[in-house]
Symmetry: C2
Subunit: 335 residues, 2 copies
């Protein structure tokens, strides 16, 4: 991204092994994330920035210390580099690994090859070479599915629970899928876009609420005996969506927030008197990847449907424009 | 409290049973809370306001529907009225009961008698008439002990955990006691007052940190291998103490906040990237009262030491002054 709105695909030098824990991945597919739109729209700085942090591909080369992955393996990687051995990783928060680095900043996987540091800690091989139709779903696991899943876990979605999802982008839709898999009784998707409502229903939503802000909160309370939802997922990252999520959560309930927070300030007194659990942040996708790959491999979930436009990598600029103009929910880029 | 700084003890009409779920309690002891200092200092409005929300006493009269308490019982009550039967109460969040009311606002227990609504849901009888020396500890259970306990539970203090406590007032000290009882490995009290440091050590603190703000955070990190504490308790309620607590918590760790939040705004992006669990608010003391009474009755804990000044109720004004001027940590008022 040369600057806001100016995305170009250019030839760069091939990556090479630098550290003995590195691996070189030849990418098979990558994609454009909702978070890539922040710099595209000029809301975050962009100055000749490499882009992309979601990726699946085949291992082309490994460093001397890589033990769990071999050349030729098909792998899915997390959008945050992690060693998966430090105390924070072992507690399940690999996105805050003491050696964490964001793939988007450090590497940029909207490319045909990528050097992945801490390959053993970041990449997970699939059981074999995947069928072609599984590739979108495996790619989704790299971020949007893993992030939606973390949000649902953070919100403690599960049996007996009513879950409300604020945000109908790819992550919100994946959170619906996750809540369903985790056994939630009732899943309320907050969406006013007919196509996304349909996808939410496909993924397991039981109710659709079109209202937003305080009207949306009132509707959630109306559906929950005046109390609010047990579990609320925030998948946008604005002040309005954050407050909508806090206010839609019942006392003692859980809010999981994964929309990258921009210009948000949470009023302390309101949070105090709402008496809810909060957990959010960059999802520790690595924690969930083995289970998510298994669910996809066994065709128990179909997260790949979240991609509604596929383009060759060379057409990345057209993909950004389609997402920016909301003509696509999520764009897959093929190599 | 006629106005800020002007506390008077005056004769009022005796309370009477209004609802069949009410009880009249003849108070044996009450006390002054740190939160009573906010209006005393003019930081919250006060206009001929009844005061007090912590209380133990003997049941003098009960309404027709009160089943679990009888005349003559010695009882400890929560600082929030709760029916203890609604869905929110049953989930353990009695302080957010659908029929919740703050005793401080609705009743005011710095008095010799009080009408307690939802007596079955709010009051817990002791196993018998307590020995005189147990009264301060039972009174502490009504708020500061119950609040410190909730903070420690919210912060998930327990075996294998390092706990840091921000705030060395009565609640912070009770949180130290709770963390110890819950089995925490290491308990760091953040305090610069020698007498409170001593009490923190008595209650189970293993380390004292005198630094505050970002220096305090740096010290906590130094003591925790650079990661931050697993469990952090916030027991002040200011912007500085809130940020100190957030920053002292390791990724994936838990922060329990019980200092009544005043003029606090939590920056969304910082909270997002800190990736910590949060839970706080007015403590659901009623959830913990049966266990706390048992621990006190069996003399396994001695929370009553937190009272360092005892005065007759008539001298309430002197008690406020002593706490305001930090000559006392917590003042007990005897009837």
């Amino acid at each position: 991204m040369y600057s806001a709105g100016d995305v170009r695909v250019e030839q760069r030098a091939d990556p090479t092994i630098i550290e003995p824990t590195d691996a070189i991945v030849r990418l098979v597919a990558t994609c454009i994330c909702g978070s890539d739109l922040w710099p595209y729209r000029g809301l975050e700085p962009a100055d000749h920035q490499v882009m992309g942090h979601e990726y699946v591909g085949i291992i082309e080369e490994i460093g001397a210390d890589v033990k769990n992955i071999k050349v030729g393996d098909f792998v899915v990687g997390s959008f945050v580099i992690s060693d998966n051995t430090c105390e924070i990783c072992r507690s399940g928060y690999q996105s805050k690994c003491v050696n964490a680095a964001f793939v988007s900043v450090a590497i940029g996987t909207q490319s045909d090859k990528a050097r992945i540091p801490y390959a053993d800690g970041t990449l997970v091989p699939t059981p074999g070479q995947p069928d072609e139709d599984l590739i979108p779903s495996l790619l989704a696991a790299s971020d949007v599915l893993g992030t939606g899943w973390f949000a649902a876990v953070a919100a403690e979605a599960g049996p007996g629970k009513t879950v409300a999802v604020v945000g109908d982008g790819a992550v919100g839709l994946m959170a619906v899928l996750a809540a369903k898999q985790l056994g939630a009784d009732r899943i309320i998707a907050m969406s006013r876009h007919p196509d996304r409502q349909q996808l939410a229903l496909f993924y397991g939503a039981t109710d659709i609420v079109v209202e937003r802000g305080d009207e949306g909160v009132a509707k959630i309370k109306e559906l929950t005996n005046g109390l609010g939802a047990h579990s609320v997922i925030e998948a946008v990252g604005t002040q309005e969506s954050t407050m909508q999520a806090i206010r839609a959560t019942r006392p003692g309930g859980h809010m999981g927030f994964v929309g990258v927070s921009h210009d948000v300030a949470i009023p302390g007194p309101e949070l105090f008197f709402s008496e809810i659990h909060l957990l959010g942040g960059p999802a520790p996708v690595r924690r969930f990847l083995p289970d998510l790959i298994e669910l996809i491999w066994d065709r128990k979930i179909d997260p790949g449907r979240v991609f509604d436009l596929t383009l060759p990598l060379e057409k990345a600029a057209a993909g950004y424009a389609a997402m920016d103009e909301r003509r696509a929910t999520k764009v897959l880029l093929r190599l």
